[in-house]
């Protein structure tokens, strides 16, 4: 599959601060790349450079074959961009605003009308089309921003925190929309909500201090977690020697008592991410402990996120 976005050794400095430091990656059609990173990590700056808002200090980004430095206007035609906070002209109505976007992107008459209608339908904006954007709720403002980004049916969508500040229903709607659009486009979203990566992204990239520290499928990243293949075990009643017995298993790294929202229990960590659930169940059966619950953990993105981003600090 062709690569729609290609970022090559991108560096952007603000005076002495290096906001983006030699970042390279590419996104193909059908991929949804999630940018993860703490605040100030360089996610937004990277997006601003790819969309042509900021010039790179060195390196470049190629969008659908157009170099954003050498041919910015050609590249921008292929991009639909939702800047952070979804800015839009407050005095305009969503309809007036979308008409402006349609005109400036070169659509006229019936074509423009059809495109606006489709964007309005996709983002469920019809109830507020005639209200000044100023008076809209945060959720609607975000949708106006999304409608604007989708209007020209771009090959590349770049969405900076598309669900930030939305309620759970709205978040779900936006994620569904992204998933619907995904097969025909190359999409980059930034987020600091880790569940979002699981929900919509086919790939995740972790950025901290301007550097790209990890790039892989959410599964790959989860496998790097110490929770990967760990077993959560809840024993009903007393089993005082359970911890010692479990630790004697060759593939078990450590055992920790947990007590969280799910209740109390034991977390059995696997050595080097090996599959240990068979060994653990064998032991449980021979020892005859009454089991109240057992579950294999997939691994936690927030583990990986914390491990990777704090290491870099």
């Amino acid at each position: 599959m062709e690569s729609m976005i290609e970022v090559r050794h991108l560096t952007r400095r603000f005076g002495p601060v290096t906001a983006v430091d030699d970042v390279s990656f590419s996104v193909r059609r059908g991929e949804v790349l999630g940018f993860l990173g703490p605040n100030g990590a360089g996610k937004s700056t990277t997006m601003k450079v790819i969309t042509g808002f900021l010039a790179p200090t060195s390196g470049t980004a190629i969008v659908c074959g157009a170099d954003i430095v050498a041919a910015p206007i050609a590249a921008k035609r292929h991009i639909g961009y939702l800047p952070e906070g979804a800015p839009a002209y407050p005095d305009m109505t969503p309809l007036g605003f979308l008409r402006f976007i349609a005109r400036i992107r070169g659509f006229d008459g019936a074509d423009a009308k059809d495109r606006i209608d489709l964007a309005v339908k996709r983002t469920a904006l019809d109830s507020v089309l005639a209200q000044p954007i100023d008076t809209l709720s945060k959720g609607f403002k975000r949708r106006v921003g999304l409608a604007q980004a989708l209007l020209h049916d771009p090959d590349v969508l770049i969405l900076d925190e598309p669900t930030d500040g939305l309620d759970p229903n709205q978040k779900h709607e936006v994620r569904t929309l992204i998933t619907e659009l995904a097969p025909t486009k190359a999409i980059i979203i930034s987020t600091h909500i880790l569940e979002e990566v699981d929900a919509v992204c086919t790939r995740a990239a972790i950025i901290a201090h301007g550097k790209l520290l990890a790039d892989g499928t959410p599964g790959d990243l989860e496998a790097r977690s110490r929770h990967h293949n760990a077993v959560r075990l809840k024993i009903a009643g007393d089993a005082p020697d359970a911890v010692t017995a479990l630790l004697r298993l060759p593939s078990v790294q450590s055992v920790e008592p947990v007590d969280d929202a799910e209740g109390s229990g034991l977390m059995i960590f696997a050595r080097d991410g090996r599959a240990i659930v068979a060994e653990v169940t064998d032991l449980v059966r021979t020892a005859g402990w009454p089991i109240a619950g057992i579950r294999v953990e997939r691994g936690r993105l927030d583990d990986v996120f914390r491990a990777i981003t704090s290491k870099a600090a």
Partner: protein, 244 residues
């Protein structure tokens, strides 16, 4: 071309989206009237020209133009829409020109609405309408010069009030550059030629030359050059400041 026009339309419509534009025009007209009739003693002069009206325009623009130009870029930067605006497939030139022309046309509309002065003059006497036409064109060109300065300076800040104050101050310098006040300061110590150079930048001087009824190529070129220079500076400033 097309994108300049689309931006121009949006910007011009945005002036009229709030009642501000109408308030603005009314204040402009009221001020123009007050200056002409009270300070300019239009009736007492007993002459059927509009010199009393036009000669106040530089001072009128000193207040009116910064108020018009202050929002051009400062507002985009403040609200963050600049990020949206400059990631649309438009060139920087189209963006700067579209905004500038919208403000200039707005100023032109305000200027055209002063037509009752022209009617008054024609009812009371028989003025030289050629001179009046030249004066209108001169005034419009001068407004463009001030606006280009204001547009460039409004890109320097996110704060419209600061943009207003800086623009008013800079426009004031350009207005009084040829006055005895400034030239007196330079006299005696500045090398010969400096005073003449400074005076050549005077909006007042070039405008007064046009008020005599002849649009000299030099005076028209002056204002057009000022516009071109400051709009170029405007693009450079936007590029430099958009990041923060």
């Amino acid at each position: 071309m097309r994108s300049t026009y689309v931006i121009f339309r949006r910007e011009l419509a945005s002036y009229f989206a709030t009642p501000l534009a109408y308030v603005f025009i009314v204040i402009f007209l009221a001020l123009a009237g007050a200056l002409t009739f009270f300070l300019g003693n239009y009736f007492d002069r007993g002459q059927d020209d509009l010199v009393a009206f036009f000669s106040f325009h530089p001072w009128l623009y000193l207040v009116f133009i910064p108020a018009l130009s202050m929002r051009l870029w400062a507002e985009e930067r403040k609200s963050g829409t600049i990020e949206l605006f400059l990631t649309l497939p438009v060139s920087m030139g189209a963006a700067v020109l579209g905004k500038f022309f919208a403000a200039w046309v707005f100023a032109g509309i305000a200027l055209l609405l002063t037509f009752p002065f022209w009617i008054t003059a024609n009812v009371l006497g028989s003025p030289d309408n050629g001179v009046i036409l030249a004066s209108y064109i001169g005034s419009f060109l001068m407004a463009g010069g001030y606006l280009a300065i204001g547009s460039a300076l409004s890109a320097l800040t996110k704060n419209q009030v600061i943009a207003f104050v800086i623009t008013a101050a800079v426009c004031f310098l350009f207005t009084v550059a040829g006055s005895t006040l400034v030239l007196g300061l330079l006299e005696g110590w500045a090398p010969p030629g400096v005073a003449e150079t400074v005076a050549a930048f005077s909006f007042y001087g070039h405008f007064n030359a046009i008020l005599r009824g002849v649009i000299d190529l030099r005076d028209a070129t002056f204002f057009i050059t000022v516009m071109a220079l400051f709009l170029f500076a405007n693009a450079v400033i936007v590029d430099l400041t958009k990041a923060d």
